[in-house]
Symmetry: C2
Subunit: 341 residues, 2 copies
């Protein structure tokens, strides 16, 4: 069992004061080179490690960034996190990651513990359930940088990073219309989150443009899990006007749909054309390959990290809340291709 060694131990060993040791270790200019190297050597020899608790307490900062996401295990989210981690780590920050599991309750709890843990900044992608935002006041009141990404809410002075969801929803729907679809069903998550709501608005806008707003056909799902597939198929088969297009705001679920529809005897894209969202790896695996909207997850993570770091470094005026809008991209594959007949 190694004993813990502190700057006091080093000080005693070298016959200097703890202050000198501290300054040496932090490369303070007013310490002579000779002393510095003496200290460094002793630190090396004794296996000295700084005690961050003490340091943090003294400096009032933790070099830690908190992250709250709805769910760790989705391709999109883990990709975003990977980007955040890369940037944070390279800058010497640690990342405390927690998941809300789409629960407002848990999001509040996590916000509280992360605050108490003294994170220097907080990055959040909101739970679908969340309807109140007071729990973030602890951060805004103390002017601790707070940033929202993907699932955002507008709070004064809090930057947001999103894609143009309205436009993306419009593009996806417009594409299906261009391919000849006339009765497009929109399958999406709770519209409580603006990301999803905006896609819906885009969907409607595209329909409106071709005077198809009457046959808007919306299906909102609680989760995007495979158990919900039956209700989808039921709704499609029960439709008085046959559904000929599907805009699903999640690739994984779109893939479930394709599989279920094929099984039910529908031809894709001949009978029903489908477009998903996110450009998850699965979209290229399914047959027919899934058209989708490319959502730049890694870049989003990197930008979120960089944005929050520049706030922490003060290189950006904290007052100037910025909104970063990433470009999405329509990716056309087989699942929505117009069939020549």
């Amino acid at each position: 069992m190694e004993k813990k060694v502190t700057i006091y131990d080093l000080a005693k060993r070298l016959g200097v004061s703890p202050a000198t040791v501290s300054r040496s270790l932090n490369d303070h200019p007013s310490i002579s080179l000779k002393t510095k190297s003496k200290v460094m050597l002793a630190a090396e020899e004794t296996g000295y490690r700084i005690n961050k608790f003490a340091s943090n307490l003294s400096l009032q900062k933790s070099n830690t960034i908190g992250v709250i996401v709805p769910k760790l295990n989705s391709d999109f989210m883990s990709t975003v996190l990977s980007g955040i981690e890369k940037i944070a780590n390279d800058a010497g920050y640690n990342l405390i990651i927690s998941q809300s599991l789409e629960s407002e309750e848990k999001e509040k709890f996590n916000t509280k513990t992360l605050f108490e843990s003294g994170v220097d900044a907080l990055l959040v992608s909101l739970a679908n359930e969340t309807k109140t935002y007071d729990h973030f006041n602890t951060f805004t009141n103390r002017k601790i940088p707070l940033l929202f990404f993907d699932r955002v809410i507008n709070i004064p002075d809090c930057p947001t990073i999103i894609i143009d969801n309205l436009r993306a929803g419009y593009d996806a729907t417009k594409h299906l219309l261009d391919q000849g679809c006339r009765n497009i069903m929109h399958i999406t998550h709770g519209l409580n989150r603006s990301a999803y709501y905006q896609r819906y608005v885009g969907y409607k806008k595209a329909l409106d443009e071709v005077k198809l707003f009457e046959i808007e056909n919306l299906l909102v799902l609680d989760q995007f899990n495979s158990r919900e597939i039956d209700s989808v198929i039921a709704k499609i088969t029960a439709s008085p006007e046959p559904i000929d297009g599907l805009f699903v705001t999640n690739d994984t679920f779109a893939v479930y749909c394709i599989k279920a529809l094929l099984k039910a005897g529908y031809r894709i894209p001949d009978d029903i054309k489908i477009i998903g969202f996110n450009n998850d790896p699965v979209s290229e695996v399914i047959n027919p390959e899934l058209s989708t909207i490319e959502y730049p997850g890694y870049r989003m993570g990197v930008l979120a990290g960089q944005s929050i770091l520049s706030h922490l470094n003060g290189s950006i005026n904290i007052e100037s809340a910025d909104q970063i809008l990433l470009k999405h991209q329509l990716i056309i594959r087989q699942s929505s291709r117009k069939t020549t007949n």
Copy 2:
């Protein structure tokens, strides 16, 4: 800008000592109910929040668990993390997550920063590159609980959580043999990590049993990324004896293989039967559906979390290093089905 309120502020406000405040907030038995509720009320009113830095410094613990994984954005790893997070969070622990990106250098660095951050325990899945393990000494020397999962190394007193990789490799290979394959290629990651090495041993063992050890056919890849696919196809087409089976230790890559082979004109499973590893969601999306080995990621995460928590609570004798072996399961799908001809 809210001012920070400390136990000293509360003490002054209530005319008691900071010690009383501290004890009240921690529900210490020797404080009268009247005083306790007075303190709690005041804490509520003033918006008091404990300062974890101070608390941690005093208590010498952080309620934080460190995690190092090779890569955040894989379905398997994010699922494991999700399980760990669930357990840790429910027990009031925060999770600091970092990724080594398969680099020994970065793994060392992360180990150091996590140590300095004062994590109460460390969970590690090793980078593929890692060949030395001294960087974990800081933890073992101080008897800070250290656990390895999935990609493990045996260090005295450090529990490990794995599946029986040898058996899994054997099962996968045996299955292909049972389906009639006689020239099975094994595509895997660097054999430096025992997880992969054991699968390879299992593969060989199955071949040995049917006296096929002569035509062992091994392909080791650095990464499992799509750029390596060409070399795979090249090796398969160049084989003097036609390859009729493929055991790939990663579903995602197995899926790439299927797509490339189909494109190259091979019929699956007729010409080549394929089995993957992990039971990633993609395995059910590809056509033909991919046979695979079910790897219980979420359970692994949950068990890793529980194991480390019990060590922290001292409810398990720290000296008794345990090894948890999870059951895998052979999942047979279309990609390896014997064709009746």
